[in-house]
Symmetry: C2
Subunit: 227 residues, 2 copies
């Protein structure tokens, strides 16, 4: 579990919105920290405001430089609501339960990145198709060219949002419980690490004989990593 | 992976806010579905609106009947912003990548619950302390009584939010890719299941000799389940 990077000249700005107030020692605006968490988590939660009320929807995202992308149905009210609106996109990885000697010192080991920006729909058809290609390739290298080609109707039915990261915060907690001063208290304390991994693949029913798992997928599965 | 329950008389209401528009066959307002997902995921993402902008923060929640609870620092701007405000609390479990013959039919197997309500701070000190006890007991049965007792200062420093579930939607996707009509296309298709589990415990440094892992924790770890 990586520690945070020290403040650097090219960090995201510390703003009223992104400043870490609680446990600031766990927070960072370093690009390297924010990017590492965005890249480690395939899943994000995107917050929209519709008619003044919040909506939080799960989706897969991908990052390219200082932009994040996500996609969905072109008819999605959330994606349409996001256009030109302030969005908060949050990735969180839960790395373990931290069991301390007191309830108060119980915690969670985690990595989370909260990014703020204004979402834009990718309107250009070729740009959109290319973004979707990179999405697939990013997850499953080499897969795109093996797929049945995308139709123009499929591109049309898909909305892709692109957001420059204006402000961002990474927060990381790792390590044992912080109550070493109470280590004499007679209760077990420590960390229950939580891990995610890929389980054995389930081939689709009807897969024709002789179609093997392609090499890059086999390697991904062999690694057990989810991204 | 459970399938959804059919509509029943005591489902959450179908409202403008909670109606499932995209892939309605994957959606449900059944209490059993919503509760099962809230209970299966220790982590949730809470959406707040502050000055018109969305914020999405990860936290642990717990459910009691038709209420969800979460907690944090009494000084948290998010928890203070949530009081008497509309909140969206979303739990998502990613169960696998679904690889189809076309990019368009790629998907994710998942379970998610999106719940809407108005958050209230639990003000009564005893009620708050008892809620925190149930939070710990829910995660780690039998642990509360073994801990160094909570001080009144610790209760004071902790905010607990309680929210009645006014509206809620469960969404589940499971199973193989839905493009069986394209099964002849010569590319591997199927599901890469994603699983989470507990890894071996890491005892806190300085843990006195002779303090063993208590039986309920050992059983939890033995099961490998994260909740």
């Amino acid at each position: 579990m990586a520690d945070l990077h020290p403040p650097q000249i090219n960090d995201y700005p510390t703003t009223e919105r992104s400043r870490v107030r609680r446990s600031p020692n766990r927070g960072s605006h370093a690009r390297a920290d924010v990017h590492a968490i965005l890249d480690a988590s395939p899943l994000c939660h995107v917050g929209y405001v519709i008619n003044g009320a919040p909506y939080v929807t799960p989706t897969l995202h991908w990052r390219e430089g200082d932009h994040v992308y996500w996609h969905g149905s072109a008819a999605s009210r959330f994606l349409r609501a996001a256009e030109d609106m302030p969005v908060c996109l949050t990735c969180s990885l839960m790395d373990g339960y931290v069991l301390a000697r007191s309830a108060f010192n119980h915690s969670v080991n985690y990595r989370s990145a909260m990014v703020f920006g204004t979402a834009r729909l990718v309107e250009d058809v070729e740009e959109k198709a290319d973004a979707l290609r990179r999405f697939i390739e990013n997850l499953f290298p080499g897969r795109w060219d093996s797929l049945r080609p995308m139709t123009s109707q499929e591109v049309k039915a898909t909305a892709v949002l692109r957001m420059g990261i204006d402000e961002a915060t990474a927060k990381i907690r790792n390590g044992p419980p912080g109550d070493i001063d109470e280590a004499d208290f007679p209760v077990w304390a420590g960390v229950l690490p939580v891990r995610s991994h890929l389980a054995p693949v389930e081939a689709a029913p009807g897969l024709p004989d002789g179609i093997e798992l392609p090499e890059p997928l086999a390697a991904l599965i062999q690694s057990g990593r989810i991204r």
